[in-house]
Amino acid sequence: MTAAVFFGCTFIAFGPAAALFLLTIARDPLRVIFLIAGAFFWLVSLLLSSLVWFITVQMSNKNSAAQQKGLLIFGVVLSVLLQEVFRFAYYKLLKKANEGLLAISQEDTMPISIRQLSYVSGLGFGFMSGAFSVVNILSDSVGPGTVGIHGDSQHYFISSAFMTLAIILLHMFWAVVFFEACERQKWWSLGTVVLSHLLVSCLTFVNPQYEGSLIPTYIILSVMAGWAFSCAGGTLRNLKLCLTCKDKDFLLANHRPR
């Protein structure tokens, strides 16, 4: 659909993530490293789940549509579970790495907190997941035509872009809640994260009814945003203070030498 659609969809899908990266991560090399490592972990989880998927497809009956659909659902569920397993694995790795970093660094305090790590790793997961979801679609969107000659919906490109946007942000929020839950041993929170991930992925089976998948996904996105905000230490009071620009006084008021 030409360059306009290509750039439009790229900005929609990767805009917020790029903004977050540029403004909060790019300046700190340590954060960049952990982001890339997070992306790598997601990639490994994808590799494993696709290996399993490939083998099961080869073994299955290729002509039966119902079986293929069943396999697809199985593949999605397996992939989600593997991603969460790898998120947990990354958490464990980061805990160990942090102790190691602390040991070799000169300072007393940890150079990067677990909270920041959760944010960075979530964003890493998100970037990689978004890239795999949408890059093929973006490359097709550069051509002169649009989807629809076989009767499919025209809104394919833009829906995919919005979905990718949601997924990237969701990965970030899930990681924050997940790591917090692991720190505080709150297993129910962990389960909820996994379940919401499963829900969002399975919602995509409703496509091409794009309203059916996008709207619930954005609802879940806002719920997770709020939850992650509170896990990260935000309260409504802070938010109100920020928005009404009374923050300067508050900060000054709080800033007492220890």
Binding site: A4, G8, F11, G15, L23, T24, R115, P144, N238, F250
Partner: protein
């Protein structure tokens, strides 16, 4: 789906040739099917979604429509749906005066006959093939794919009650980018520059080139070029090529196939008698390739003869008989055309009159009527004109038209088997059709017998042997079937080398710059002629390919070809070696030998190089929707930048609740 082009170039400053100057990324346009005049208005002026990709019925493929489209900026390309029969009033995209600049008539030679002042040979010619179009023009067969295109148009692009259709609209993209531009001189200059200076030279265009096929009754030593002592030769000539507006579609039934088949049948009829009772002079059968493009083959042969690079030279040529278009005789008389300017010389006139008398005497015994057109009428466009340019050789051109061509579809895609009345009853299998003798076959057989006997008589053969020379109707029928309907038949396949089996058929009689395609017309004629005039030898394959060491065989006099023989029931072949005096001679315009790319003497046609030729259909969205998507994207990006900056600058405050409370209280 066949496109137009290889953009073919000529030096002629006036005729920049038909060149799909398409863009390298393909031309896209909204589909519109042109069925009525109202559609034409829609495309050219009132339609709201230009540029349009026009899919037109064959009836609209006329000069007026195409010129209107050429001048409009709202047309992105044209696809013509072929129909089997042409318009009844005739259609010829060639010029009305074919090859007018390279024939024999110039301001110095017969000026009153030059540029068709005297007779317009192709009055229906609209010159469409010589127009320069800036968009691709494809031809579509009327089959399933075309139905898909129509359906897409009907589903998305039809107007409802006069109002314009809504986006998304069905669009088509045609790719046929041609590398060469402007004309031959520019293109060859750029190619030469590339060859001299570039590490990876890319050729932009190729000169049109193929081979002429020739054979002689008495074998001549082909390794010794130039004048042959005591050889006087009668040449029987025909052309091998045809063309149309579209690339690779040139059935050319009346224009070319009729003369090829006649000459081949005549050669087959004449050979046994000429071997038994050799005539006084030698007889040459020649098939010229590339005649549609300013006489490439014949000009090259004449050039080679002049410069002693051919097996004989012009001093050896006694007379010439050329077979022109003879398929549409319909029981009427044949016409013998001659050149009035050379006949002003009494010697030449006497020789031509002698030839005419010989033919007439043969014709009377065959119940064929032959006439000469008026004495001041010019010679029609023919290879013979190139001989006359150099020397006043006595000769005739045999044709079925008295003045202008009877062929209403000269050099067009409608000059098909149906036009020549080569049709078969529907219940015959392909093998039965191969053997079936149509009326056209019978008519051409008569002419072939006439030609064979006349040549024999002209070469000094004795009259008592004339009745033994008879062309075979079955051969003519098989030849017509092979050249016009399906060349992948059992008889043709048995005459070709084994490696040619299983390939596709000739796609029309078009000159090709790809040398050695085993299924081109040149090759077919070469092997058919070899079969008809040659002998089977007992050589095995390696000896056949290199008969130097075999006693009694001579590579100078003969050519040896390894052919597959009849294919048996279980698919095996029994190949054998054929010895004949059939040779190929290069048909590349002398202009390229002399590197005179702007020559006015010789043909300077070249064909542009191209990479992909394809087409695809898809839906296009409205530009507004696309811009809106871009706008939303930019908005999302800006908003997220702003919000992120806001959050990151206030991060300490926003996420402060989990900081350890300071030890001191306040």
């Amino acid at each position: 789906m066949a496109p137009v082009g290889g953009c073919i170039f000529h030096d002629c400053l006036i005729c920049l040739w038909l060149c799909a100057l398409a863009s390298i990324s393909g031309d896209t346009g909204v589909l519109h099917v042109l069925e009525t005049e109202a559609d034409l208005d829609w495309i050219l002026s009132t339609g709201p979604h230009p540029p349009y990709m026009v899919v037109m019925e064959a009836a609209f493929f006329t000069r007026s429509t195409m010129v209107k489209m050429k001048n409009s900026s709202r047309v992105a390309g044209v696809a013509v749906i072929k129909s089997n029969t042409g318009p009844t009033e005739g259609f010829s995209p060639h010029t009305s005066c074919p090859n007018q600049n390279t024939g024999v008539y110039t301001e110095h030679y017969g000026p009153e006959l030059a540029n068709c002042n005297n007779t317009v040979w192709n009055p229906l010619g609209n010159g469409l093939s010589y127009e320069d179009f800036a968009f691709p023009i494809f031809s579509l067969k009327d089959d399933n794919q075309t139905q898909v295109i129509r359906k897409c148009y009907e589903d998305h692009n039809m107007r409802m009650n006069g109002s314009a259709p809504q986006y998304p609209l069905c669009a088509m993209q045609l790719f046929s980018h041609m590398h060469a531009v402007t004309d031959t001189v520019t293109c060859m200059r750029r190619t030469d520059l590339q060859n001299s200076f570039s590490i990876n030279p890319e050729k932009l265009c190729d000169p049109l080139s193929d081979f002429n096929v020739w054979t002689s009754i008495r074998p001549l030593n082909n390794s010794i070029k130039g004048h042959k002592e005591n050889e006087s030769v009668v040449i029987a000539a025909a052309r091998l090529d045809g063309r149309s507006f579209f690339w690779d579609i040139a059935p050319s039934a009346e224009g070319t196939v009729s003369s090829i088949v006649t000459l081949l049948a005549a050669a087959q009829a004449l050979y046994p008698v000429a071997l038994e009772a050799p005539p006084q002079r030698n007889i040459f059968f020649t098939f010229f390739q590339g005649e549609a493009f300013d006489y490439i083959g014949s000009s090259r042969m004449v050039y080679d003869m002049e410069n002693s690079k051919f097996v004989i030279d012009l001093d050896n040529v006694h007379s010439l008989l050329e077979i022109g278009q003879i398929g549409l005789r319909n029981g009427q008389s044949l016409w013998m055309h001659s050149d009035p300017v050379s006949r002003k010389n009494t010697t030449v006139n006497k020789q031509v009159a002698n030839l005419v008398a010989n033919i007439k005497s043969v014709a009377s015994s065959l119940n064929l009527s032959l006439n000469e057109p008026s004495a001041t009428q010019a010679l029609p466009p023919s290879s013979f004109q190139r001989f006359l340019r150099v020397r006043p050789v006595p000769g005739l051109v045999l044709a079925d038209h008295q003045a202008s061509f009877t062929n209403r579809y000269y050099e067009s895609l409608y000059d098909t088997a149906t036009y020549l009345n080569v049709t078969y009853p529907s219940d015959l299998s392909p093998e039965q059709q191969l053997e079936y003798e149509t009326e056209a076959a019978k008519s051409l057989t008569q002419v072939a017998t006439l030609v064979a006997r006349s040549i024999y008589k002209q070469a000094g053969g004795e009259d008592r042997f004339l009745n033994n020379i008879t062309a075979d109707t079955k051969t003519v029928a098989k030849l017509l079937y092979g050249f016009l309907i399906m060349s992948n038949n059992s008889w043709f396949s048995s005459l070709l080398p084994p490696e040619a089996l299983g390939r596709g058929s000739i796609l029309g009689l078009v000159i090709t710059h790809i040398i050695n395609t085993l299924t081109s017309v040149t090759r077919f004629v070469q092997f058919i002629l070899a079969n008809m005039t040659g002998t089977v030898t007992k050589l095995n394959q390696s000896q056949c390919q290199n008969p130097k060491d075999v006693p009694g065989e001579s590579k100078d006099l003969y050519s040896y070809s390894w052919v597959s023989g009849p294919v048996s029931v279980n698919g095996t072949t029994d190949p054998y070696c054929v010895r004949s005096s059939v040779h190929l001679s290069k048909a590349l315009s002398p202009a390229f030998e002399l590197t005179d790319y702007g020559s006015r003497e010789y043909s300077t046609w070249t064909e542009s190089r191209w990479k992909t030729i394809r087409a695809r259909i898809f839906l296009v969205a409205s530009p507004q929707l696309e811009m809106m998507t871009l706008g939303v994207g930019v908005a999302v990006l800006l908003v997220s930048l702003v919000v992120t900056y806001f959050i990151s600058s206030k991060a300490e405050l926003l996420f402060s609740a989990t900081r350890e409370p300071p030890n001191t209280t306040y």
